[in-house]
Amino acid sequence: MSPADLLTDVLSDLRFRWRALFRRAEVEREMDEELRFHLEREAAKLERRGLDAAEARRQARLEFGGVDRVKEETRDARGVRVLETMLRDLRYAIRGLRARPGFTLAVVATLALGIGANAAMFGIVDRLMFRSLPYLRDPASVNRVYLSYSFRGDRIRNAVLEFRRYCDLAASPSIARSAAYSSADLVIGTGQDAREMHVDIVSGSFFDFFDVHPVIGRFFDATADSARAAPAVVVLGNALWKSRFGGRRDVLGQQLQVGAVNATIIGVAPEGFAGSDETQPASAFLPITAYGESELPGYADNYSWGWLTMIVRRKPGVTVDMASADLTRSYALSWEKEGTLVHDRTPLALAKPEAKAGSLQLLRAPEIDRKSSLILWISGVAAIVLLIACANVANLLLSRAVGRRREVAVRLALGATRRRLISQFLIESLLLALVAALAGAVVGEVGQTVLRKLFLSKGTTMGVLDDPRTILFACVAAVLAGLLTGTAPALQSGRDDLVTALKSGVREGTRQRSRTRSALLLAQGALSVFLLVGAGLFVRSLQHVASIRLGYDVEPLLYVQTGMRGMRLDTAQDLALQARLAAEARTMPGVEAVTQVLTVPLRQMRTYGFSVPGIDSASHLGQFLVQMGTVDYFRTMGTRIIRGRGFDSTDIRGSPRSMVVSAGMAEKLWPGQNALGKCVKVGGDTMPCWTVVGVAENVKASDIVGDDALQYYLSIEQQRPANTGLFVRTHGDATAHAEEIRKRLQALMPGPSYVTVMPMRNIVDGARDSWRMGAIMFLLFGLLALVLAAIGLYSVIAYNVAQRTQELGLRIALGAHARDVLSMVVGEGLRFGLAGIGIGVAIALAVGHWVQPLLYRESAHDPLVFVVVGVVLAVVAVAASAIPASRAIRVDPSIALRAE
């Protein structure tokens, strides 16, 4: 058969079946007419041979065989039998569901919540775990580099590294090509047009990893990676090009202010190319060197600031293990090189630096962080919520199936096969699930907006509705849910005994069925207890975290940072500017105190080597962080001085150098001694003494939940560092003053330079994020589960009460007290509740040790949490059964007994 013939065949086949399926009435009518014509012609022929009309018709029919059987066979020949049946079942199901809007709504809403929650989580997990970067060429040969080394018994792991380290590792022989990137929110444009946007800061080799070409102009290339070149160029993201430049081609060569870089536009990225993060498309691409030059002076000379993600493409034939070994060798060389620059670097043999070529996705990194493992947990929780929703819907369908026993029995009696009935039940539940999937996608879209705020950085663009993978996932989840919920009622419908069903009316589900329903109910209860216990543990953890004494105040503090544009200030100029800003801020009515600072707690850490007379390699005793401030530092920050004094007006340039140490540092260096008056030589042996004049309380500088920092404070007046900022202490809530202060200080800024003001609250909240996220998500899903379980319990009890109307009426007629009936019904609900609590508590105790690492100062077996959850669930169980119970005692015996 030629291809053309084959095509005609297929087309004609499709046309025929289409007509058979959707123009069924017409096709049937034609068949009737055709067969009637045949019989008439045959009868006419027989009549001509002398038979009378009636006999001729009879003979013709006889000759023909059973007309109905021929019709059936002809229908079969159309080849759409299965589809036709399904279509009929579908129409039947739609009719049935429309006839009971309440039931349909309940089922769809329940499943939609479950599917929506999972779709939302899937969107996030998928991006963090499974998807590679869009347009990435040959993702299988690309790895992200993860570093680790030992420091004082701990293994320190890093997913980001320094520019110099990147250059060192890039030289590894098994690596075909490597790239580094970072991203930042930078102000693009000047004046009215200035907007903060997401910018990718990438090495020139970055674009080579992707199958993309600039729409116009060119990308910068590896020549941009030389720190000496640092070309001030920028590649525009497609969206920015279209929105701000109207997609004009003459943008090439124009100047654009990006952060502190006044860059020349050299190209435009194609549509759909997001850069380093699909969820956060870059508005522009800046070379690492250009960015570093202006924002991170000295970035290329030191091994202090890890801020770059490194990706490598392995050479053909190089395995991941080989690449890791190779990178580790380079890392060791790099470590040695660093040792020649940095005083006091941990020796190679102790540090055992190791580099791993790992997955691009952070969730599959060699060691995943707290937030990532939380995300995995929460996806599991979402799946449990869906299971609970399924159990609920299965229960609803089962109780409905009981109500339909007569209908089913009648259909069986009329000759429907059990297979047909089962398939019909399944089609009904699948239909429900698919409608729920649509609703769920909308729920997921809304839910993800919330999740995005919790899990991903701001400015993220992603969605459920516009992402085919997530939609597909929702549909698969829906089909599974449909099968899961439909199977039990379907199987049971096929099991009913025909005669008893017809005789007995709608009362009395079979024992089998009520057992299934009870089991489903118990599972729901147990799972919600499990989730609520989790919620309780995370909420308690959050409480513990929130009650940690940080060693500084949060609410009244604002951090003020300057962004210089079009000029570069040397250290003296910078300090003078900061002093001017500080003086201006002090004049404002809402401001209590102001200090210049070197670092922001929880955001930046700085270390200097130092030596202490009488102590061998003192700075090996721990990681000592340096902070600097002016006279009002301790008053502004709210850090208490325990002994001695803070900085005062005598600590100025030229006067004896003063230092304040944290209590922990004092204890570490001079255990049991008075630290006041001790000498610390910051920078090393040959440097002058800084005299300890005060001991301050401990602070959390690097991590809220970690150990107290070993921190020391130097006077800015005396040390005169570069890159300082300001902390402003206001009366009351700082957020209310932020804008006012920003405006006042902005007026002092030269030219296009600007100030940004950030409440300390935001910084601390950022650090508490993962704790808050765990608490919120577990609580949210736990409550959702509780509501579903309550609805499930209510519907089962209400159904049982309805079934027992007659019996209850009889009891009341025989003189039972309303109270007895009430306690009987509520007791039934409570028994379910208690059994659910028992099982749920057992599960929670059993898996507790897996959650333990995610908790803070909270035992996974905290009795308080278990008791509270138990009480809550018992109360809910009583409440859910009290409503049907109160209906039960209002049963009018005369009506109840006459029913049916």
Partner: protein, 114 residues
Amino acid sequence: MAEPVDAAKIELPQGTLDLLILKALSLEPQHGWAISERIRQVSAAALQIPQGSLYPALHRLERRGWIKAKWGESDNNRRAKFYELTRTGRHQLEAETDAWRRLTVAVRLVLEMR
């Protein structure tokens, strides 16, 4: 098909019905009854198709695109459904006729073996 068959009549081997229908339609478009009449007459009534089985076969052939159906006027001015061969149907007829000939030749050779 478990239809009772007269001793004098030959039961159709599997799949032959399609061939016969195609052949009957090869001269001109026909309606269902005429097809069965023609086969009966031409085969000197030796081949009698159970009339009922004709229609499922016609619909199956139509689905395959070997024949197509059109409503028209019959010789007694009644509306009737006429079937005609399509181009692929004609190819199919040739192919199947050919196969049938080769089969019968081969079978005869075997049967006449001494």
